[in-house]
């Protein structure tokens, strides 16, 4: 038997949470991160496929031990039902961005549209002076698009954090020994 080995390299980890849809639950989760001294890189909250249940996706940077610890702490919160650490190679991750670009003359407009096409992004609003591009893709794709459009002058931008879901048959509802163990720690009826 060997002491549990953890990856000590700092990298991005994605946590997927199922929580009860009650007031204050998002702040409860977010506050846990800040009080433990961890920075949230991105957080997305929205419905799940079950009514009364919200799914929160959080990206943090840290080492494996730290991520396991924060996941364990999250699981202790009463409204938090499941926490799963998603592996990069067994999950798919996407972001959405709405980018309003200055495009006053025709050539600029053409170029922006071309770039949008290359990135399979859509133009969702046009005015005399601006184009609004809606893009969907993984983190690096969105980052690259923003960089390219930056040359034309971005008037404003709204972007989501990372959404993630596991590949294949695995889901957040899977039972595991780890999950059972965590339930003991939270509360036992």
């Amino acid at each position: 038997m060997k002491r549990t080995e953890f990856d000590t390299q700092k990298k991005y980890y994605t946590l997927s949470l199922l929580v009860q849809d009650i007031p204050g639950v998002l702040s409860q989760v977010a506050r846990l991160f800040s009080r433990k001294g961890y920075n949230i890189e991105s957080i997305v909250s929205g419905e799940s496929n079950h009514p009364g249940q919200t799914r929160i996706t959080i990206v943090i940077k840290g080492d494996e031990l730290m991520v396991n610890q924060i996941a364990a702490q999250c699981r202790k919160l009463i409204p938090v039902q499941v926490v799963k650490i998603l592996e990069e190679d067994t999950s798919v991750q996407r972001e959405t961005a709405l980018i309003k670009v200055m495009a006053v003359d025709r050539t600029t407009r053409d170029e922006v549209i071309q770039i949008a096409n290359i990135f399979r992004a859509n133009i969702i609003d046009v005015s005399r002076e601006t184009l609004t591009v809606a893009a969907f893709g993984d983190h690096s794709k969105i980052k690259a698009l923003i960089k390219l459009l930056g040359d034309f002058g971005i008037l404003e931008m709204a972007k989501t954090g990372t959404l993630a879901i596991e590949r294949g048959r695995s889901s957040i509802y899977d039972e595991s020994k780890l999950r059972e163990e965590y339930n003991y720690g939270k509360n036992v009826l």
Partner: protein, 567 residues
């Protein structure tokens, strides 16, 4: 049945067998106190001098009786005054339900008089907080709150009722269900299902693995942590230790989890741990920690803590595993259940050689016979005077360490101390709670002059409810523990630690209608103890000791566990 909302709140307390609450009224909680007026014969309310005292009293009541403590306070400053008490209970996993009332719905969020977001403030220091805006949810919330506070790893819960929810004309549907049954009501079941909660049955494979590890080990060491005390697993732990025939180190929070006078005890471990405990920790080949979270006062330097040993962690809380110290094996479950399963599978071991090697490091307690009063003389006199099994509540600092090192605690709840949060001023409140919950036991409150000054106004509570608590002040005219650090680490820069100031604690006791005596030698101490035990009222013994007395041994924070700064 239709009842008033406030009635439902108090009936829900009765469901949980609550007969005592601690608290302090105010504007927004008036409705609940009005209802309490009708329940005087069923629920005893202890009115303290300050909400903080009430919070510590409810905590001390919970720790000493094993029941859930209950504490009331009003909104705003009343609620914020509870926070130190809530955090103290949270750090030491003590089950307390705090009930506050907030302003009415129409005033909420308008910075109204005495309004504060107490559920927000208390979020990081409670297991759960509830803001009740709908009176119909009162029974569910109350039952949930008690279930959450008392089960799993216990801890405080806060319920904040809006004032309009408690209005006397609000009627709700309510049916009395005793707590043994209400854990089966739909809402609690629903909670259990939605959170995937299961009864804590330890994994038998994990237990088998540990049995094998134990069979391979030659030099095992056990650590008795606070989980043994909270889980009332002292009998199982004792059987375990005796079967293992291994030395047992006890953490501050573990005091009472294993008999302090047992031949296997090596005493406290960590910063002020004994030579025996700390050396054992550094030389054992298997370390089994039960209900202990390897805090920085035990595992001073986590990276080198018992690095030569296999570390096994038994805890009810999964998030404690690998949090501070990396472990080789863990078992999740209540100490009681895990140890009971384990004991069934363990043979009787004989480890005379290892055991004797470690236990020979234990030094006999030296009671110095100096002329002037010393801490060990004070403690020895107390120990000889009080009946066996008396409860000891401490504050925080040198006297706390001296008390815990000196007394041999025998059962869970005998030692009440703020081990995790280190709350100065905890002791008197906790002693009040303990005396109320255990009227037949002698309750000793040991404190320092710094700590006592923080919450000594609770002497008014001691006097009013006629609680014969014996307060022993280790009066060295300084913040002793801080001074000790300044002496050892800060080149004797005694910055703001000298307390050469009022009050005269004997006169203070008298001002509160109690008795007191100043003692300067062992004989006077002995006489004072005799008087204190027979006078039938609260008694303050002001023990004048030297300000340069130190807590020994000492390992500085962050150092390796055997790098003693003081022997």
């Amino acid at each position: 049945m239709k009842v008033r909302a406030t009635q439902a709140i108090l009936e829900c307390l009765l469901e949980q067998d609550v007969d005592t609450v601690f608290g302090y009224p105010g504007g927004t909680i008036l409705n609940l106190y009005d209802e309490l007026y009708h329940y005087q014969d069923k629920i005893k309310h202890i009115l303290t001098a300050h909400e903080q005292g009430a919070s510590h009293a409810a905590d001390g009541y919970a720790r000493s009786t094993g029941k859930v403590g209950v504490c009331f306070a009003t909104s705003g400053p009343g609620a914020t005054n509870l926070t130190t008490g809530i955090a103290t209970a949270y750090m030491d996993s003590s089950p307390v339900v705090f009930i506050t009332c907030n302003v009415s719905e129409e005033l909420l969020g308008r910075d109204s008089f005495q309004e504060v977001d107490i559920t927000g403030i208390a979020m990081p220091i409670t297991k759960a907080t509830y803001l009740v805006r709908d009176p119909q949810t009162i029974p569910d919330v109350m039952r949930q709150a008690f279930a959450v506070a008392a089960t799993g790893r216990p801890g405080p819960v806060l319920i904040d009722f809006l004032k309009n929810v408690t209005a006397l004309n609000v009627m709700i549907d309510y049916e009395f269900i005793p707590w043994t049954e209400n854990r089966n009501t739909d809402s609690i079941r629903e909670l259990a299902v939605s959170h995937g909660l299961k009864a804590p049955e330890p994994d038998l494979n994990d237990i088998e693995t540990l049995v094998e590890l134990i069979a391979q080990a030659e030099k095992p060491l056990l650590i008795c942590g606070g989980g043994v005390v909270r889980g009332r697993a002292h009998e199982q732990f004792r059987e375990f230790a005796e079967k293992m025939d291994a030395p047992v180190a006890i953490t501050v929070m573990g005091g009472g989890g294993f008999p302090g006078a047992h031949p296997l005890t090596t005493g406290m471990i960590g910063m002020h741990g004994t030579q025996a405990s700390n050396v054992a920790c550094n030389t054992c080949d298997l370390l089994i920690a039960v209900g202990c979270r390897f805090s920085d006062r035990v595992a001073l330097k986590p990276t080198t803590f018992a690095q030569q040993a296999k570390i096994v962690h038994i805890d009810i809380d999964r998030s404690e595993i690998d949090k501070n110290v990396r472990t080789d094996h863990h078992i999740i479950g209540s100490a009681k259940r895990v140890l009971a399963e384990l004991n069934q599978r363990l043979p009787q071991y004989d480890r005379t050689e290892w055991k004797e090697k470690i236990l020979s490091l234990l030094e006999d307690q030296q009671i110095d016979e100096q002329e002037k009063l010393t801490p060990s003389q004070v403690l020895d006199t107390i120990e000889q005077a009080v009946p066996d099994g008396s409860i000891v509540a401490t504050d925080v600092g040198q006297h706390q360490m001296w008390s815990i090192q000196h007394f041999h605690f025998q059962y869970p709840g005998q030692l009440l101390t703020s081990g995790g949060f280190g709350t100065m001023g905890f002791g008197l409140g906790a002693a009040i709670g303990a005396k109320v919950g255990n009227p037949d036991k002698v309750v000793i409150h040991t404190t320092g002059d710094g700590c006592f000054r923080m919450n000594c106004h609770e002497l008014a509570t001691v006097q009013y409810y006629n609680l014969p608590i014996i307060t022993v002040v280790f009066n060295n005219g300084t913040l002793g523990m801080v001074r000790q650090w300044q002496h050892l680490i800060y080149q004797e820069h005694y910055s703001q630690t000298t307390l050469d100031r009022a009050p005269d604690f004997v006169k203070l006791a008298e001002a509160y209608g109690l008795k007191g005596k100043r003692v300067t030698n062992r004989q006077e101490m002995k006489e004072a103890m005799e008087e204190a035990l027979t006078c039938g009222c609260g008694y303050v013994i002001d023990c004048i000791i030297d300000m340069d007395e130190m807590v020994r041994p000492m390992v500085p924070g962050g150092a390796h566990i055997t790098d003693f700064l003081l022997k």
